[in-house]
């Protein structure tokens, strides 16, 4: 993956359509978020409260998990515990088999992607229909999501139009977004209503009611999980909140940070399966609570990352993401939050580029609705990578040698003097090419040093 990251980034940079697609969505999101935040009374205080809610839950995870389990069971749901991604997939596949499911309708869930659920279902021979519009596009194209909120962000509407025309039975006649959405609706509605099992993720798990909350703009979660006989929820254990009040606060932060809207079109709380007096709903509701490294993250210095509510603001505002898009990151989660999570999920050796490919500009932290200190966490990975010897020998020896010199002021002065003299040989104003600085001069000119170092000139003036 190491050589892979640079390669994927280079491919992404060479794709002008990708740039257009990313800019359209992330640029719009950035502008809309700014407007929403400006109109929100005391947004900074709301961020602090959001972070405090998550920190509290993460510090008392055991307590709230037990409370959630008890209340979910009381509401008629069944709760399953999965320590690893494989455990989680096995539980879901077993539940599908027990339900005799031939096809499942799945509402977009990044946790599902993280644990490899689409793959596990395919291996089990269970047909999977992705019901989120963007996930539907991804499924038709045989690709992976490139953003946690807009999985098909990397595709332009023109590309989507071609895809629908090729794959839908009754594609759109007119070249409008509305007509394209109608085409997807015709295609998906039949599949959703015919599914045996509905699978969703969860945006929040409410401990004091045992409710599971999803947010969508298309209503596909509701239509995916209500008609089938069985509803399966896969959720990371960090999705817990103590009460509805806390869920509402985080919902206000989530929608604004993600899209700039005050709320998503659909916000649904599912509390247990169909009850005696209900007109519809699934007969069974199963909630699979997934750890997959989360308690390890908490115990190993990444507790703040568990605050993440998956809004995508960090990537929308990231200068690197905006250039290379999500696929280049190579993991389930892209952008700054992905660069923190992927080393946990896939191992640092396989993903050491991600925390390095960051300018440390701090914008992600500035926009994070739960105040995750992303640059600090990324620096933490860099330090681990350094300690474990994963950084290239050339980098290690250069930094170590430079630091050794910089600890000795007299030697440092001498080296600076010599380096400046040497550089001056390559140009008096601008240097277009110089040994050891090819990575700089490939893309930009290097201003030549002014002559003597400051220290030399200053000493001379003092005399």
């Amino acid at each position: 993956m190491n050589a892979g990251f640079k390669l994927r980034a280079a491919e992404a940079l060479a794709d002008p359509l990708l740039k257009v697609a990313v800019e359209r969505t992330a640029g719009t999101a950035e502008a809309k978020r700014a407007t929403a935040v400006a109109a929100f009374d005391a947004f900074e205080a709301a961020r602090t409260r959001a972070a405090a809610i998550k920190d509290h839950v993460i510090a008392h995870l055991g307590h709230y998990l037990e409370q959630f389990e008890a209340n979910a069971i009381a509401a008629g749901a069944q709760v399953h515990w999965a320590e690893t991604a494989d455990d989680a997939c096995r539980i879901v596949v077993d539940l599908c088999r027990r339900a005799g499911a031939k096809s499942v309708a799945r509402s977009k869930s990044m946790l599902g992607e993280e644990i490899g659920l689409p793959h596990a279902l395919a291996e089990a021979g269970i047909e999977r229909v992705e019901t989120d519009l963007a996930e539907h596009i991804i499924q038709l194209a045989g690709e992976r999501p490139s953003h946690i909120v807009w999985p098909a962000m990397h595709k332009t509407r023109e590309q989507v139009s071609d895809l629908f025309r090729a794959r839908h039975a009754e594609p759109h006649a007119e070249e409008t977004i509305t007509a394209m959405a109608e085409s997807a609706r015709r295609h998906l509605r039949t599949a959703m209503l015919g599914a045996d099992v509905g699978i969703s993720g969860a945006n929040f798990l409410v401990a004091d009611t045992g409710a599971v909350c999803t947010v969508t703009n298309e209503g596909n979660a509701e239509l995916s999980v209500v008609p089938p006989r069985v509803h399966i929820v896969t959720a990371g254990i960090e999705k817990l909140v103590p009460s509805m009040d806390h869920a509402i606060h985080l919902l206000r932060m989530l929608a604004r940070s993600a899209t700039g809207a005050p709320l998503t079109q659909y916000t649904t709380f599912y509390t247990g399966p169909k009850r005696a007096r209900d007109l519809d709903g699934p007969e069974e509701m199963h909630i699979v609570l997934v750890d997959n490294g989360r308690t390890k993250m908490r115990d190993e210095g990444l507790a703040e990352m568990l605050r993440c509510i998956r809004c995508g603001a960090c990537m929308n505002h990231c200068v690197v993401f905006r250039q290379i898009g999500g696929h280049a990151y190579g993991g389930t989660y892209p952008g700054p939050m992905g660069a923190v999570l992927t080393p946990t999920l896939d191992g640092l050796a396989a993903s050491r580029d991600l925390p390095q490919a960051c300018t440390m500009n701090g914008k992600c932290q500035e926009v994070c609705p739960v105040r995750i200190p992303l640059p600090t966490l990324l620096r933490g990975w860099r330090e681990k990578s350094w300690r474990e010897g994963l950084e290239p020998v050339s980098t290690r020896s250069a930094v170590r040698l430079w630091a050794w010199v910089a600890r000795r002021p007299w030697l440092y002065r001498l080296s600076a003097r010599m380096a400046v003299r040497a550089m001056c040989l390559f140009g008096r104003r601008w240097i277009a090419a110089i040994p050891l600085a090819g990575a700089w001069t490939r893309h930009r000119d290097l201003p030549a040093p002014q002559g003597r170092t400051f220290m030399d000139q200053y000493r001379r003036r003092q005399r």
Partner: protein, 270 residues
């Protein structure tokens, strides 16, 4: 009596009543030392005009940021101790760079937090360390007097200064006192220029794409002169502007404030 609050004074009338000259150590930064000493001399000029006695401690080298950002915490800590030793006897330490000042102010106390001896020394130095534009504005309440530069300039907010130290209004307040200087609005003025220290040579292609957009925005602003508070970012943007054949010149804000704005810009001969 409540302690004097620099901010209030400055907001009130722009100039702080000066009782005695401030004793300041200039931390030159490795980049200014090697690449553009002019910024160091401009800093001394401005600080003296603002009523400071400026010393340049001999034992200073680099703040250690390259080691810190590479994950080499051990060397970062060693360089932090060096810098603390070199600077801690001065009442104020002033740095012509937001990212180097941020390293001392924000990161030294973090790096040395577990060290019972150096931790408190790092905290003590951090409290007295200032980025130069913030220092001139907030601590000295200084404004350039009789400095004239008829030019349209764009100001780029370098990331560490902006987000670690809150430097935003200070340079603009100072530049407003320069006669005939017009500040042109710069789209994405708070967007990273793509430098990122070692990032720009570790991931040159990604850095280039970011910098290219930044350069285009600078060109579109119509400014003749690009100003910022960090030489690293300035060299990156100026180098890109030059490669693109744009006529925009670039220099450090303190050069303009010290009345040296009519001299050679980055990449121009003295």
């Amino acid at each position: 009596m409540a302690p004097m609050r620099y901010f209030d004074e400055v907001e009130a009338d722009g100039i702080l009543p000066m009782t005695e000259r401030r004793q300041v150590a200039l931390f030159v930064t490795c980049l200014v030392d090697a690449m553009r000493p002019r910024i160091g001399f401009a800093a001394i000029e401005a600080l003296e005009a603002a009523g400071c006695d400026v010393a340049v401690p001999e034992a200073q080298t680099c703040c250690g940021q390259p080691a810190l950002n590479s994950g080499d915490r051990q060397d970062a800590a060693a360089l932090a101790r060096n810098t603390i030793r070199a600077l801690e006897e001065y009442p104020f330490v002033v740095v012509p760079s937001g990212s180097c000042a941020g390293t001392i102010r924000v990161h030294y106390p973090e790096i040395l937090a577990d060290d019972p001896v150096w931790g408190p020394r790092a905290e003590a130095l951090a409290e007295r360390t200032w980025e130069i534009l913030a220092f001139l504005d907030q601590v000295c309440g200084w404004r350039p007097q009789g400095v004239r530069l008829p030019v349209t300039a764009a100001y780029h907010d370098s990331c560490a200064g902006l987000r670690e130290l809150g430097i935003k209004a200070q340079p603009r307040r100072l530049l407003r006192a320069v006669e005939a200087l017009q500040l042109a609005p710069l789209a994405g003025e708070e967007t990273c220029c793509g430098f990122g220290g070692t990032f720009c040579v570790k991931y040159p292609a990604i850095s280039n794409a970011i910098t290219d957009e930044k350069a285009a925005a600078i060109e579109a602003s119509g400014a003749e002169l690009l100003l910022a508070g960090d030489l690293g970012c300035l060299m990156n943007m100026a180098g890109k502007l030059h490669r693109r054949g744009a006529g925009v010149r670039a220099m450090h804000t303190v050069e303009v404030l010290a009345g040296m704005g009519d001299g050679p810009a980055i990449g121009e001969e003295a």
